[in-house]
Amino acid sequence: MKVSLNCRVNGEEVYGQIDPASTLLGFLRHELKLFGTKEGCGEGECGACTIIMNGRAVNSCLILAVEAENAEITTVEGLSRGGELSLLQREFIKHDALQCGFCTPGMLMSARALLDRTLDPTETEIKEAIASNLCRCTGYIPILEAIASTAKLEREGGQ
């Protein structure tokens, strides 16, 4: 028995008829065709499915789609505006903070949520923010540098 869902995804009103047992991750990928958000484990351990919901970084694999009723959701597709990469995305490229790129959408969303909380995060806070975004390629250092660099530039008024 399907239920209805109304929410805002990347600034757009979205309406769907969904199976109550479907996850928000499944809804974003298979209904909205927003494949940027990835599934790594389906258990909230790897962070590949991280999105921002009502201002908070969350694992979309652990949220039922129905729980997103009236929610404000941002996925990696919502970071760039009108085809223009955001500063955060540009810094990730510049610092080579990605290789295979599978963890990248989740990393970007955790980073974005952190910077929305504070533009002056300590190294510990950056590490805590991405502690559960697993990356097998980069060794994390370039990612930490990209986030720290973005924080500094955004503090100085960059976007």
Partner: protein, 107 residues
């Protein structure tokens, strides 16, 4: 060599596909969708080196949504260079329980 002469060595090299990856546009196999497609999952042996005594499929086959189950029996040949599936040949019926198709598996 003075650094100004070097074009690539020691210079940053921007990843060509970086843009697709940071915007979520990059398509991985996991993102591909085709009409009527099925999803496969591999069940691994919990033991690195052991003999397969039996494989019971009935309960798994009965689960809703299961279209097919493949075991080594169905693939009695070499795959690629390295992978050989075991439990080949004999069927696993209860009447021949004492003499079932035995196989070894090793990683």
């Amino acid at each position: 060599m003075p650094e100004e002469c070097l074009q690539s060595i020691g210079k940053p090299s921007l990843r060509r596909e970086a843009r697709e990856k940071v915007t979520g546009q990059a398509r991985y196999v996991f993102d591909m969708e085709m009409p009527g497609m099925l999803y496969a999952k591999v069940l691994h042996s919990p033991y690195a080196r052991a003999e397969i005594v039996s494989i019971e499929l009935a309960e798994a086959k009965a689960l809703p949504g299961v279209k097919a189950i493949l075991t080594g029996e169905d693939l009695p040949y070499l795959l690629g260079l390295y992978m050989i599936f075991s439990a080949r040949g004999r069927s696993l019926s209860s009447s021949s329980r004492g003499d079932q198709g035995r196989g070894k598996n090793s990683y």
